[in-house]
Symmetry: D2
Subunit: 255 residues, 4 copies
């Protein structure tokens, strides 16, 4: 478990100056999304394939290109390993990248990952030469398994997608971080800035969020909040917080 | 309860660009303290009187003057209304300011405010023409009482001084904010950046902390973390967070 | 801080076999209230004076007498020391007891205690020969002050009356218990059984609740739940719980 | 999601009067274990196979027989599907029961279930005619998968075995309960009585614990605490708790 946070986020062979990864889903329109992307300072943004290939409607990609943000295709909404692998292959063609955020969802109500299908898809995609970033549960064993099959990062949820419940089980995230040899990226459930700061304090290397910004009352302002929060949490982790004490301790001693 | 956070913190007749107030207690030495003050961007810093009048040893004040930071005298360690009022009067002489952070402590183990002595001291100091910023418990009734006697802000604790336990009772802070007509400044208990962000998200106007920075392994880095966290929390409050939901909601709909 | 829970609750010179104290407020009707009282096994029940002296309408007292439950008059709704002291005096006449649950409320929205008026009333009532059980905030300093002026117990809230938010600040309750020389009775805020068990695990000597039972969908069943929960928490405190560990520990070793 | 808790726990074709299931691991000696079993009122107790077949050393089984408690063989410590299936088969021979608590552990440090091996083992054992009670993570998708392959109950963890961290993610348990058609039994992580009460309030049908009792300072007293807590939580769920409110609500209205 590294105690020093490097200034840059390194995933596979690439380096990013920002530790905030945005999703584009949920935005009211492209203008607001663009403002939010700028305010967030993100350098990596997920895009669901279905929006990409919707004949000509490549508005999101145009925005990302204009802003110099790397597009990370996302198998959002895929329900089994086969569908996810197929979608990733289409994305590689369409976006000319072998990176993929791998989502294999079990059902519409929870949008939780299907552990078994997820591992199967991850193995296949790694074999096919993809750089795989899997969206996973907060199960430390599953996270380790995904790392073992060759994923370039693990992306545990804080709580269900779009729920805004934050990090429901910080202890699980800490266990994942303690065992991980690849970056741990908190993905899903973030509701507000303090959630994002906490993720970094727990030792995550980055935070991925979409709804928390795109569905906020004022998306660009929330994007700026999240950028500051991720930075705050990373610095705090690096700075080494004071221990928790049951009784008080004066900050103004005799001196 | 204001839903829009203004860009500036206004207390009494003064305006501050930063919403982070630092305490100087607990710093290992002046050089580190100075670095932390700069990194924090603070414009207002508490100084315990006893350190000020320690014959010539006004090093902290010199640092603050050099950095253009306003010194806020603090009656730290005072045990009854009389002692606190007397100390505030001395501070007014020594620092040539009628502002005072009013601490009236009940005992050394908890360093918690003594509600009854606190109100008595606050009344007296307001009568004497002070701008009073009282350190108080998280009791909404006591906070309102302090506002009613004329305090310029109320400064409820998150948890005991130096404990690093964060905001033990967010609901109490929310009740205080909901009823307050003066700025609510979270004072005491902050351990790490996400605590400070949460304070602002709950509606506080500013955060005051000392040990969390001065006793961190790397105080200047933690000061930068706290500055970012306070900004993150203020922006998030202003941006209007998404509601909490039991079940998931897709961020990538058909669109 | 006693580590062994005695089998009986001792307040002043009286002993009770049950550590669950019920309030009668909020009950839909006397029949349901009676059922709940029986199911709870309580031996001590608060009664608001205004219901007692409402000309002949002494239904609640009749029920308590029939069940052999001691009535504890309650200055519920009193807004200042003077009103509370006056009400207590009336109650002593009406109920022929010098015991009083002292409530001095600051306002209708929070129903929180008014610390300053509360201490004033407690001092007066102790001087007047009452056995005073004050409803107080979870402020350890205020609790100690109430003990110092001669109260027979201290009754900190878990959260606001009727809120069902449980124990908002367990750390504060632990600090109160650690310093108390009289019984600590958790009063107000209990929503469900696990809240009551937690109160006892934190070291409280008893739990007082009303709405959680009287306003439950099925009051007698909830009363039975609370009786079991208080017993569970007291036994667990006595039994000495296992420590918390970050990693797992097998319960089935080689042996 | 049933809103009424029946008086009896029904698993497969069997009915139990107690909703507390004990594990025998961690007990200092058989005499203390027997006392704890009696105090708990349990009717179903897990036994790790390795302790059963340890040449003649069938002390635990003798105790269970004498007390009329059903022994539930446990594949504790098994590391893959094959080992677990093999162990279950041995247990069926040795204990003459086709019931099995299925544990497939990933490693010694976390003792967390291995999701993929667990599902494989569960499928095999159901096919082989076992009544399978799987120890699982708190992942709602995995729980549903285990139910779909024919398990007679699902047994999500609260937190790691022996950690005493309680229910780290109550929301996950609520999601499991909301979707389950078989009994949900909270298994692992319970530290004290309020944890067990909470499990039942969240809608679990039973609680399984070992270390919390066997490693407590006073196991029989903690066993009694847990019995009371499980009953309290079940009754509270059945009784219908009051809603949570931000502001107070008087329990003593005019009436």
């Amino acid at each position: 478990m590294p105690t020093v946070v490097r200034d840059e986020l390194v995933i596979a062979d690439r380096t990013f100056g920002s530790r905030l990864i945005l999703g584009t889903g949920g935005a009211a329109n492209l203008a607001v999304l663009e403002e939010a992307l700028v305010a967030s300072g993100t350098e990596l943004t997920t895009v669901a394939l279905r929006r990409v290939d919707a004949g000509g409607g490549t508005g999101v990609l145009d925005v990302l290109r204009r802003l110099g943000i790397t597009a990370l295709p996302n198998t959002a909404g895929c329900r089994g390993a086969a569908e996810a692998v197929f979608t990733a292959a289409l994305a590689r063609e369409a976006l000319e990248t072998n990176w993929v955020k791998l989502e294999v969802i079990a059902d519409e109500r929870t949008l939780l990952p299907d552990a078994i299908e997820l591992v199967a898809a991850a193995e296949q995609l790694v074999d096919d030469g993809f750089v795989v970033l899997p969206y996973t549960t907060d199960d430390p064993v599953l996270a380790r398994r995904l790392e073992d099959v060759g994923c370039a990062a693990v992306m545990p949820l804080g709580s269900p997608i779009g729920s805004g419940l934050g990090i429901a089980n910080p202890h699980a995230i800490e266990m994942i971080v303690a065992q991980a040899g690849v970056p741990v990226i908190l993905d899903a459930g973030i509701g507000t800035a303090s959630d994002a700061a906490l993720a970094m304090e727990l030792g995550c290397s980055a935070v991925l969020l979409a709804s928390a910004v795109t569905r906020a009352a004022d998306p660009p302002t929330m994007a700026a909040a999240m950028a500051a929060a991720v930075r705050a949490g990373a610095l705090a982790r690096q700075a080494g917080r004071i221990p928790r004490r049951f009784w008080a301790e004066a900050s103004s001693p005799a001196l």
